[in-house]
Amino acid sequence: MTLLAHAIAAAPPAAMSHDGLRGRSLAWSEAGGLGLWSTEWARDMKLERPDALAHHRLVERICAVQPCLPVRFGTAFATPDEARASLEKRAAALHAALTRVAGKSELALTLLWSKNSGASALRPPSVPEADGPGRRYMEARRAEYAALATRRARAQALVDRVISELAIERPLVWHQTCTSEDVAVSLAVLVPTERALERKAELEHLAARFADVVPVVNGPWPPYTFAGTE
C-alpha cells in the first residue's frame, strides 16, 4: 500500500473525517511528535487532474481543524515506516515551520498587466528601412531591453507599495515579478486566519487602485508558500 501525502501536523491528530482522496481512507503516521495525513493509495492507481484539486480541498479540511504544513502534491511513501522515517529525520525543522504558520493563512495576489501596458508596450519602435538590418536589429533589441527594465521597475514598485500600505512584515511576504508576459507580480502573504477575509478585502481595495494592472486576489488558502523547511 502506498501513502499519498497531504499534510503534516503536530501530534495528536485532530478529530476529523477519515475520508481521503476518491473516498479512500485517510491515514495518520506519527513520529517525532508529528504526524503525516495521507491517503491509503494503490500503487497502480494513476493520479488525475481532479486529484490535485481534491488534495487542495483535503489540505484545507485538515488546516481547518489543526495547524498543518501542506506537503507538495504527488509525494508518496511506499510504507508507513518510510513516512515516519521521513518525519523523524526532519522533525526539528518541521516543528519550527509549524510554529511559523500556526493560525495563519495564505492570500495570493496576482497583478496582470492591463491591455495597454502588456506585450504591446514591449514592441520595439519601427526603425527606418534605410538604416540597414544590423542597425535595425540592434535598435530593436535596445528598445526591448529598455522597456523590460521599465516594466520590472514598475512591478517592483507595485510590490513595495502593497507591502508598505498594508504594513506587512517582509518575512511574511513572498513575491516574484514579471514571471511571464502577462504577469507583473505574483505575491503571497501570510495573514492571521481570523483576519484573512478582512485582509483580503484590504488587498483587493488597494490593488484596484493600480491603473496599469488587473488584480486577482485568491485565498485564504493553506500556507503552501510558507511551509518550506529548506
Partner: protein, 62 residues
C-alpha cells in the same frame, strides 16, 4: 497579448502552489501519471488552461 482571465489566473496560481510549494519530504517518490512524470501533469494543467484562454479569445474574435 494573451489575456489571462481571473479564473485562469486563479487556477494557475493554485496549481503552481500544489506542485511547486509545500513541504518536500526526504525519501519521497513521485507518482507518475499514466507513465508520465508528475511534473508533466502540472504542465498539462497549465496547457489546458492556456487552451481555455485561446478558445475564449477565438469566441471573442468571432
Amino acid at each position: 497579448m494573451t489575456e489571462l482571465t481571473a479564473e485562469d489566473t486563479s487556477l494557475l496560481e493554485l496549481v503552481d502552489r500544489l506542485l511547486n510549494k509545500g513541504v518536500v519530504l526526504a525519501g519521497e517518490a513521485t507518482i507518475s501519471v499514466a507513465g508520465i512524470d508528475l511534473i508533466y501533469l502540472g504542465l498539462n494543467v497549465v496547457l489546458a488552461a492556456v487552451e481555455t484562454i485561446e478558445k475564449a479569445q477565438e469566441r471573442r474574435a468571432s
